[in-house]
Amino acid sequence: MRLHAALRTGVKRVFLGCEEVLDAFFRGEDNPLRHLGAMGLYLLWIVVGSGLYLYAVLDTGIDAVYRSIGDLALQQRYFGGILRSLHRYASDGFMLVMLLHLLREWCYGRYFGFRLYSWVTGVPLLWLAYIAGIGGYWIVWDQLAQLSAIATTELLDWLPIFSEPSARNFLTPDSLSDRFFTMLVFIHLGVPLLLILGLWAHVHRIGHVDYLPSRRVMLATLAALIALSLFAPALSNPPANLATTPGELGMDWFILFVHPLTDLTSPAIVWALLFGLTALLFALPVLPHPRPQPAAVVDAANCTGCDRCLADCPYAAIAMQAHPQRPGLKLAVVDPDLCASCGICAGSCPSSTPFRRQEMLVTGIDMPQQPVNALREQLEQALARLAGRTRIVVFSCARGADAALLGATDTAVIPLLCAGMLPPAFVEYALRGGADGVLLTSCRSGGCDFRLGERWTGDRLQGRREPHLRRTVPASRVLLVATTVHDRSALADSLASFRSRLESKADASDRLPPYHRKASRHA
C-alpha cells in the first residue's frame, strides 16, 4: 500500500514535470499531455478512416491479401501507401497515447470514487485495443503475421480453451484456408467496433467530453504522421511461408511486444503478467481511499431551474426534474454517486451572488463543506481585516499552487475547492467591499482536477459564459493566474507584479462604488 502510494506520487511528479515543460511550448489548450483521451480518440478516427480504405482494396485469399496490401506502397506510393502507413502509425500512436492516458489517470489518483466508472470501463479497452492491433498484423500475411499468428495461438493454447491446439491451424501451408482471412477481416472490423462501443461507455458519465484535441493539435499530429509515412512508408515483411521459419523481421514493438516477451520468458509468465495486471487495475479502486467529500446539495426554495449547474457540471451528476412546489418550474437534482464535490455548480448558480441581502446566503446548489454563505462571511471578515496601501484578495484553488503563505496584512487568501466554485459576483463584491485587486488562481489549462474548473472560470471572468463577471468591473483589477502545485514561487511573483501594477495606476477612477451589505440593509 505504502509502496504503491510512493510509486504513484513519484510518477506523478515526473508526469506533471513533463506537462509543465510542454506548457512552455504548447500553451495550455494545445498541450497533448493534458488531452491524452482526446488524442486517443483522434488517432482512432485516423485509424478508422484509413482502415476503411484498406478494407476497400483488400482481397481475401492467401496470396491475394499479401499482394493487395503489400503492393500498396509500391503501386500507390502517395495515396494508398500513405493511408496504409497512417493506419499503422496512428495505431501505434493510439497504443502509446492510451498507455500514457492510463499512466496519467493512475498517477494522479483518478481511479476511485466518482471516477470508478471511467476507470473500470477503461480497463477492457486495453484488451480490445491489443486484440484489434494484433489481428491487424495477421491480415497482411507476411512473415511477421506468420510469427504473430503462431506465437499467439501457441500462447492461447497454453490456456485450457480449445480442445484441439489452435496452433495446429498454422502447421503447413495447406492447413490454411481462404476462409481464415474472411474470418480475420471480420474480427479486425468487429473488435474495433466493440472498442468504439466501449469508448462510448467509457465517457458516458462525463459532461462536455474532450472528444477531440484542438484544431492546431489535430493538424500538427496529422502532419507529423503524414511526414513519417512519406519518410518511412509502412511495408510488409516477405510473404508468409509456413514451411519455413520467419527470418529477421521489422517488429512493431507497440503492438506485438508480447511475442518477444513470451520467447524471453514463458507462456505461464506472460499470462500471469497479463491477468495479474488486469486484476490489479480492477482492484485499484477497491483499495482503501480517503472518504469522499460531501456531494452538492440542492435547496429547492432557491433553485429556479435555470439549468446553469446542469450545463457546467463536469461529471453529468445533475439532472433536472419537475419542481415539487412550483408548478411549471424545474429543480436540479444531484446524483451523489457521480458528484465529484468540485463546487462548480455552486459557482454557476445565479442564486449564489453575495449581493443578496439575507443574513444567511442560501443558494440553489451548494457544497456542505464550504457553503457559499461561509465563503461570503470569510470574505467579509477578510475585507474588514485588510490594511495597507494595496489590499488584495486571493481566491486560490486548493488543487493548484499553495497560496496560504501569501497571506499578509494587505493580502487575504481564501481557499476554494476548485476555482470554478467561485461565483464571479464574488470578485465584484470583494472590489466593492474595499479590495484594490482580486487575484484568482486556477489550474493550468487542461489541468483541472475536475476537468472544467479552469475553463469555466476563464470564460465567466471574460464574459463568455454565464454567470459572467459584470463588464463594469475593471479588468485591470482582476488577475487570473494558472498554476500547478509546483508554481508557488511563480504565483508569489505574479502577486508581486500585480500589486506593483495596481500601485502604479495613475488614477483610481476605475474604482467601483463601495457596497456594504450590512450598511445598505440598515440604510
Binding site: L22, A24, F25, F26, R27, D30, R88, Y89, D92, G93, L96, L147, A151, E154, D157, S163, E164, P165, A167, R168, L171, T172, A220, T221, A223, A224, L225, A227, L228, F231, A232, A234, L242, A243, T244, T245, P246, G247, E248, L249, G250, M251, D252, W253, F254, H259, P260, D263
Partner: protein
Amino acid sequence: MLKPVAIVGQVILYGAFAAFIGYFATSPKYRQVADDIALIKLSISHLGDRECRKRTPEELAKLPPNMRAPMDCPRERSDIRLEVDLDGQAAFRTTMHPTGLYKDGVSTVYKRFELKAGTYQLAVRMNDNLIKPGFNFVKEAQIKLAPGQVMVIDFNPDRGGLFFK
C-alpha cells in the same frame, strides 16, 4: 501569436513523437529463431482407441438377445502414449489424455523442437490403446533439415498413421 521558440519547440516535439513511433514500429529487428536452426513441430490430434473387453459367453447369455454385442466398449477413450527419439536418444515422452468431460474426445499434443540444421535419425512411436502393450504405430526415417525448415510430425489414419512433412 506563438513565439518562435515555441514554434521550434513544437516542431521538435511533434517530430520526436513521429520519430519515436516510426522507430519502434519496425525496430529493433527481431529474429525469433536463429538462421541455422530448423523446427520440428510435433502436432497430433487423434481419438484414442476404446479399451474394449471381450464378453464371456456367460455374460452374453445374461444380456437381452438384442444387446448381445460380443465386445464391451466403454465410452472413454484410451490415453495415447507417444515417444520421439532423435539419433537414438529419447527426445520426448508423453501420455496424451482424452479431452471432454467423459474422456471421449480427442487427445492432442503440440510441441516444438528447435534443432541445428543437419541430418537426424527420427523415430516416433505411438500406442493409442494402452490395454495392449508396445506401439501400434511406428515411423522411423532419416531426415535432413535445412536451415529455417519447419518439419511436421502428424498423424492421420487415412494416410497410414504417423507421417513426416
